[in-house]
Structures are given as structure tokens and as C-alpha cells.
Amino acid sequence: MTNEQLKEKLLQVFPGAVISETTQYVTLTVEPDKLHETAAALKGNPELHFDYLFCQSGTDVKEALGVSYFLESTDLRHHLLLKVSTTNRENPVLDTVCDIWETANFNEREIFDMFGITFKNHPDMRRMFLDEEDWVGYPLRKDYVDEVNIIERN
């Protein structure tokens, strides 16, 4: 399916969806509260059938903390970039998708570790890499400072 067809299809399934396009992928932006249902539909709809989440990344751009989901359909071979973001930096919460794509389990833990985004309903929301007990802060956030460990290069 080409990107054009995919866009049409998406509009069919999610009327009023916010769709844009990067150089590569069709991008669908959803609100945090719609995330889980959109994700479920993306995988469940046989004509979309995005069964493979090949990359899940946390982002921190301009006030908003977000997550990007890169989806692929292994039989239909089309791609989608699903984006969600929240402006709540103090206590960002998003829905988990790890019941839809198992691989999200670890990825969400990593995002929690690095960005501090908590995923609701995640079975095991702990830090992935950093020390669970005594690590403070979320290193990949733009406002992260750590005088002890980081040696800035002038």
C-alpha cells in the first residue's frame, strides 16, 4: 500500500485523525487518552494490521514529552509512525501498549527510565538500566543535570 492509500484508509478508520507525513512515514498523532484504543485498532483492523512495532522511542521536544511508535505490517508491508505526547512534565502518564505488542514491555520500561513517563497498566514498571534504588532523575530529558557524573566538554 502506498502512503496515499494508507492515509485514506486511516481517515476511514479514524475519522478526524491528525495525519501528516515525514519524508518517510505517514504520521498519525493521537491524544494520550485515545492512545490505547487507536493502537488496538491499528493492530486489530485486518486492512491495517500493524502487527510489528519495530521501534518505540521516547522524545523530549519543546515542553512536551512524547512517545513515537514505529509500526509495520509484516504481511501488507506498510509503515506508520504513531505519535503521542503529553505536556505534563511533572507526572507524565500514558497508556501502555504492551498488551498489544509485547515488545513494548521492555521499551516502555526504558522510556520510563530515561524520560520518566509512567505507563498505566504496565505489568512491571521499573527502571530498566539505571539503578532502581538510588538513581535520581531521568537522563534523556533536556533539563537533566548531573554534576557528579557528567564532565561537560567545554
Partner: protein, 373 residues
């Protein structure tokens, strides 16, 4: 009342056993916290981060040329391929067309990396299974590849040979000659691998049906590379999203459907044959041309988001860059194949014995620094 004898009927408390961070079978500093019932693995909880170096954060303070030296150190066994991803991304974003020569050379070195990596996997896997001699045969043959690398790129393991726009320098005059020597040499040695390990009845017994995983699960867990293809998941990026010179060569995407450790093993062995085939097709046809296009000294990507996927030795490697138009990226996400592969370990090995866990772990071919980044 069944007549069968079940020996672990005591309300056996599960006990916990640490494997790692310093443990010979975790191939590095992975820590697996295993709950055991008797000798059966009930649950595996991977604890990562013992080699988490914060590469993604560091990339935010580096220019695109400099990122190369960090992607080298992710999955150091496919260092070149990782670099290629970054270079391709930058070239795509700037819409630079690199010379054909560069594409060919990149592909050749990628395939050599893959061979070297699979050889190392083979010897490590053999060691995990207790066949200690594989270690030496695998590394013996790998040294030949490292020589080719060293002659052209100056590095044995971490080459830093790619750079945005092309290559650091031209290939060494001996490059093709050496590869042409290597191919028949390795074609002779590869059957030995089968004789020594693959066919061995003990090895077969220990891997057949061990750690099985279905195609659906593989897709859902995002297990890619040879591990995924062992379960029939057609995930070869080289085939489905060809980059560099992969669209110009004929090769098979190796697919097995059993999904057990033996299948994963066989995929890798078969991939070595395929890599040899690819090498043969390319090595004589390297076109003339420049080895790099002239780039501005400071590369700035236009604002936007970019993603590039390549097939690294252990699966799909992806780079996701958010650029704000500055010389430093805003966010670099490195999608590492091992991370996803590791997440499925529990799914595969739970319910088997500790010895099987080692076999399954070996067949996944994990590289821990790639997991932790």
C-alpha cells in the same frame, strides 16, 4: 491417581539464582535472575544496565560525524553496519547520492562483518554447549576477515570506516585479492563447522525443540534477525528495504519455521553461505569512482525526523533522529536488535532446564552493550 512419578511435588519454594553480571554464559554483563524449581527454570528476569553508557544522551552533544564513533561501540560485532545506518540517514536527509563505489564497498564490508560476527557467534555458542574447540576454529577463521578489515580500515574490530558521504579512505589495493582468497578458504572450512557441531548428536539433542517460539510471538516481541527468521518471520531488511547495494545482488532470505534453538542455529549457518554468495557477486564488480562525496565540514540536518533501518548481524538496527536544524541532533534513538531479542528470552526459556537456558541464550546471540547502549 496417576501412575507417573513426579518428583517435585513438594511445595517447592522457587529459589533464585543469579546468572551474571560476571558469568561466562551471559556473554558479557547481563544479569539474569532466574527462579528455579528444581533445575527447571520458572522465570527469567533480565536485569540490564551493567554496561549502560548513555550513548543516546551523548549523541545529543556530538556532530553527525562524531556519532559514528559511538555507534561503533554499540554492537561492536556489527560496527560497520551500525555506522552505515547513521551515514545512510544523514545522506538521505541531505539527499546526497553517494557514488556506487561506496555502496559496493559498504555492502562488502557489511557482509564481511556479518561473517565475522556469525563466526564469533558460532564459537561462543559452541562454548556454551561445552564444545570448547569451536571457539578456536571460529576465531581462527575470523582472524582472516579481521586482516582484511585492518588492511583497509586500520581497525580490527571497530573500524570507523564509514562517514557521512562515503568512506574514510579508499580501499587498500589488496582488498579484492584478499577477499578472493578468503572466499574459497572459508568455503572449505564452513563444512567443518557442520561436521564438528551441527551434526553432532549431542548438540542436536540439546537444541532441538529447546526454546521454541512461534511466528506470532516473534513478531509481537519484535525479535528480528536470524533469531526471528528461525521462527519464520521474514524480517530481513536487506530484502524488504534494500539499501546500499543489496538491491543489486541475488541472495536468499533464510527462513526456518521450527523456531527452536536449532533453527536459529541453522539460520546463521545458512546465512554465512549467503554472505559468501553476496561477496562473490560484489567483489569483482566494484565500480570505479570516488570513495566519498565532499561534505561540508559541519553537517546540519534539516529540521525534521528521520529513521533509517539496516540489517545488522543480530537483527534490525534502526536510528531515529530528531533534528532541529542544528549541528547537534535533538534526539537520537538507537533501536537495537538485541534489546528486543532479549525481551523474548523469558518467553523462550521458561519451563526448560538451566542448561537449556544457556543454549537458548547462545542461540539468540546477545551482545550486551547493544542492549544497554
Amino acid at each position: 491417581m496417576t501412575e507417573e512419578i513426579v518428583q517435585h511435588d513438594i511445595e517447592q519454594e522457587e529459589y533464585l539464582l543469579n546468572m551474571g553480571p560476571q558469568h561466562p554464559s551471559t556473554h558479557g554483563v547481563l544479569r539474569l535472575l532466574i527462579s528455579l524449581k528444581g533445575e527447571t527454570v520458572a522465570n527469567i528476569e533480565p536485569h540490564c544496565g551493567y554496561i549502560h553508557r548513555g550513548i543516546e544522551k551523548m549523541c545529543e552533544k556530538l556532530t553527525y560525524q562524531q556519532i559514528i564513533h559511538l555507534t561503533d561501540r554499540l554492537d561492536y560485532l556489527s560496527a560497520h553496519i551500525n555506522n552505515e545506518a547513521v551515514c545512510l540517514l544523514v545522506e538521505d536527509a541531505l539527499q546526497i547520492e553517494v557514488p556506487e563505489r561506496v555502496k559496493y564497498i559498504r555492502t562488502i564490508i557489511s557482509e564481511l562483518s556479518r561473517l565475522a560476527s556469525h563466526e564469533l557467534w558460532w564459537c561462543a555458542f559452541g562454548m556454551d554447549m561445552g564444545a570448547l574447540t569451536t571457539y578456536f576454529y571460529g576465531l581462527r577463521d575470523r582472524e582472516k576477515i579481521l586482516d582484511i578489515f585492518e588492511e583497509t580500515t586500520g581497525g580490527r574490530l571497530l573500524q570507523s570506516y564509514n562517514c557521512p558521504g562515503g568512506l574514510m579512505n579508499d580501499i587498500h589495493p589488496n582488498f579484492q585479492k584478499r577477499i578472493k582468497e578468503f572466499i574459497p578458504y572459508f568455503r572449505k572450512k564452513l563444512p567443518e563447522y557442520d561436521e564438528l557441531l551441527t551434526g553432532n548428536v549431542i548438540m542436536q539433542e540439546r537444541t532441538k525443540g529447546i526454546g521454541p517460539i512461534s511466528k506470532e510471538d516473534v513478531i509481537s516481541w519484535g525479535v528480528t534477525g536470524p533469531s526471528g527468521r528461525g521462527s519464520g518471520f521474514a524480517c530481513d531488511v536487506r530484502k524488504h528495504h534494500p539499501y546500499s547495494a543489496y538491491d543489486k545482488v541475488q541472495f536468499e532470505e533464510i527462513l526456518f519455521t521450527e523456531g527452536d534453538s536449532l533453527a536459529r542455529y541453522k539460520v546463521r549457518i545458512a546465512e554465512m553461505w549467503e554472505s559468501l554468495k553476496i561477496l562473490e557477486q560484489l567483489v569483482d564488480n566494484i565500480p570505479e569512482g570516488d570513495y566519498a562525496v565532499k561534505m561540508k565540514p559541519i553537517i546540519k540536518l534539516p529540521e525534521g525526523e528521520y529513521y533509517q533501518r539496516v540489517e545488522a548481524c543480530r537483527g534490525e538496527f534502526g536510528v531515529y533522529v530528531i533534528s532541529s536544524g542544528e549541528k547537534y541532533p535533538v534526539r537520537v534513538k538507537l533501536r537495537s536488535p538485541n534489546f528486543s531479542n532479549l525481551s523474548a528470552l523469558n518467553r523462550m526459556a521458561a519451563g526448560f532446564k538451566i542448561a537449556d537456558l544457556v543454549a537458548v541464550g547462545g542461540s539468540l546471540d546477545l551482545v550486551i552493550p547493544d542492549i544497554d547502549r
